[in-house]
Amino acid sequence: MNFQDRLADILWRMQEARLDLVIGLHDGAHFIEKPNPVMVLSGFKSLGAAASVLHADGRLTTIVTPAWDAERVGDANAGIGIGAVGADDIVAGIQDALGGAVPMSTGIAGFRVLPSRIADRIAAAFPNAVAADKLVFDAARTKTIEEIADARAAARIAERGYHHLLAVARPGMSEDDLAVELKWHMKSLGADDNFLLLCASPHNRAVQPSNGRKLQTGDIILAEITPSVNGQLTQICRTVVVGKPSDELARKYALVVHAMDRGIEAAKPGVAMGQVCRAINAVLEAQGYGEYCHPPHIRRRGHGLGFGSMRPGDVALDNMTVLEPDMLFMIHPNQYLPETGYLLCGEPVVMTQHGAEPITTEKAALASIAA
């Protein structure tokens, strides 16, 4: 599926839902957990609030703020035929783009997470609009060939970034300095964004944002490394010991990797996502860690990868989404164990007709740096 195929799918869904118009909205605050219908509809990652307006006849216009950023829409979508309009105010920009004519049946995606100062005005401008999130994101439940290529490129950057972490991390270095170094390195490799959680402790309770702690011998560094290429995120989850890992830590990490392997094996087309989570839990439950397989210790065993669509959603027991080829998501057991603390281990996978294929070149393995 390419971008045009997805657009055709959305148009078909509009016809089924009897919608004349779909408006995708986003405030420009890009975050790993926040789906972006403007990116789904236009492929454009905006600086400010933006909207993509799709008519049932296929006409597509993207409205961006600030107005001077409109030229970038055209650059990003050369050949696709998306109109670009710059506006100083997103609501007025949408109304101008529609020429004052509001179609009778309008769907809006992204409304619920829109800042209320914008959403209130959108609601007033389109009082009869219905939610179109499901329509837009159902069509984006699988990735396009372009998005999968970007995800693979981001995975390569993530792995090179991780190798850089192993090369530069040392006792006495602060978490913050290591995080900045890692982000800087991945940007130099072409990552346009990076969601990074990096922390260290002899016994981590969870993975957290960096907080200035200085690395010490015996620390376990947790790194959730999530670069983006052309707005497509990919993630790897890694664990590094400062000094020689204990035998127990090595054993427990191998257990978590084994659980991840079972999860990857369970991910097949036609299988519900919840089964992937169940397969991971089964390995850990068999070793007596059943109570640690549920909140507050663990909420999910993976997730979809935006910035556009977050589908197929969380690797969680209650996710009944049936897996299909070209779905992209993380499988990460990321488990707290009482003996070792929290351990990070995870790979991004793309679904093929045969099953889940990790798009990394090296699977997570417990690493160490010199004390």
Binding site: A29, G48, A67, P115, S116, V180, G190, R205, P209, N211
Partner: protein, 347 residues
């Protein structure tokens, strides 16, 4: 920032709203100026909500799950921290034992609309929005705040100098040198836009750009101790008529930047000084804004009717001339009763 600074700010809030007994303060990683002003917290990943009360200890609810509580502790003077469950939970906690009309909301415009709706439903009504009042409070900077902004300007200087020194290598190398210099100087956040077409348009980092750009027009914003500084720089070893004129305009306006001057006069002076040339699209409608805890869009950072003593402004002059040259330059200006101090100016 000492805790007394925050209690003083909250006391002022209660004075402005004498009937209010509780305040809900919302902040996100993108929009957090009011939350940072009252709690010192800048959310790192997901939103946070402070519940301030007249008589009891304040609470802070943190998005992102229980794991974020520990990470937030060093970032705020508030000691009662808990996970942020939902808008409904915030509303229920806020309204417990009182009526909604005794609650004020700050930063409500930045709340996701579903969150705000569920919060309002739980409260049984919409609380008074006090955001604009807090922004009025935020205008006059304390000595602690001014020191933080001066520090941010030092970081800005380091970033722009690093970009200037690296501009002959490649666009990406120069931008990354700027980011790195800012981080090494203590920046919590760095945002850089650059131009590859002589300053006609600006763009963010999307992919590697291995070419150089001369002139190299950049915009740099840095956050240091929670306070922002921003600046435009038009970098070239060669003389450039557009830049020379923009700098002349900027310096001419700086002489006029005094407390009590209508902000409209500043805009008019820039417009008339550009004369035969056209205003740059980037600065056409935003030649002057306040700056501090927020790097915000209008209306929050609007400069208001008049220049005020105690506030800090970002002043910009941008133009495009008939020769097709473009340039934007700027200054960070602290205004006081006796005139102004230029904290940073484009090189």
């Amino acid at each position: 920032m000492p805790e007394s600074e925050f209690t003083r700010r909250i006391d002022t809030l209660w004075q402005v709203h004498p009937t209010a007994t509780r305040a809900i303060v919302y902040g996100s990683p993108r929009h957090h100026a009011e939350l940072a002003y009252l709690t010192n917290l800048v959310p790192k990943l997901e939103a946070a909500v402070a519940l301030l009360t007249r008589d009891t200890e304040p609470k802070l609810f943190l998005g992102g799950g229980p794991n974020m509580v520990g990470a937030a502790k060093p970032l705020t003077w508030i000691s009662d921290l808990a996970p942020l469950r939902s808008g409904q939970a915030v509303g229920q906690t806020a309204v417990a034992g009182i009526s909604a009309y005794k609650i004020v909301v700050i930063g409500g415009g930045a709340m996701p609309t579903a969150f705000r709706q569920s919060m309002n439903e739980a409260m049984g009504g919409e609380a008074t929005d006090a955001t604009a009042d807090v922004w009025k409070q935020m205008a006059a900077k304390s000595s602690h705040e001014m020191a933080a902004i001066v520090g941010a300007c030092g970081v800005l200087h380091a970033a722009v100098a690093a970009i200037d020194q690296s501009k002959h290598t490649s666009v990406t190398t120069a931008v990354l040198a700027g980011e790195r210099a800012a981080n090494q100087a203590g920046a919590q956040d760095v945002r850089i836009l650059f131009s590859r077409n002589g300053g006609r348009t600006l763009e963010p980092f999307v992919t590697r750009v291995n070419e150089t750009a001369d002139p190299f027009q950049v915009y740099v914003a840095v956050r240091h101790l929670n306070y922002w500084a921003e600046g435009f720089a038009h970098l070239s070893a060669r003389p450039n008529a557009a830049k020379s004129k923009a700098m002349d305009v900027l310096k001419r306006v700086l002489i006029r930047m005094r407390a009590g001057i209508p902000t409209r006069d500043i805009a008019n002076l820039i417009e008339s000084s550009i004369r035969s040339d056209a205003p740059h699209p980037v600065t056409m409608h935003s030649c002057l804004n306040t700056i501090g805890l927020g790097l915000e869009e209008a209306p929050y950072a609007d400069a208001g009717e008049t220049i005020e003593a105690g506030n800090v402004y970002s002043l910009k002059a941008g133009l495009q001339n008939v020769a097709g040259q473009h340039a934007i330059v700027s200054a960070m200006v602290a205004v006081h009763k006796g005139g102004n101090d230029v904290l940073w100016i484009s090189p």
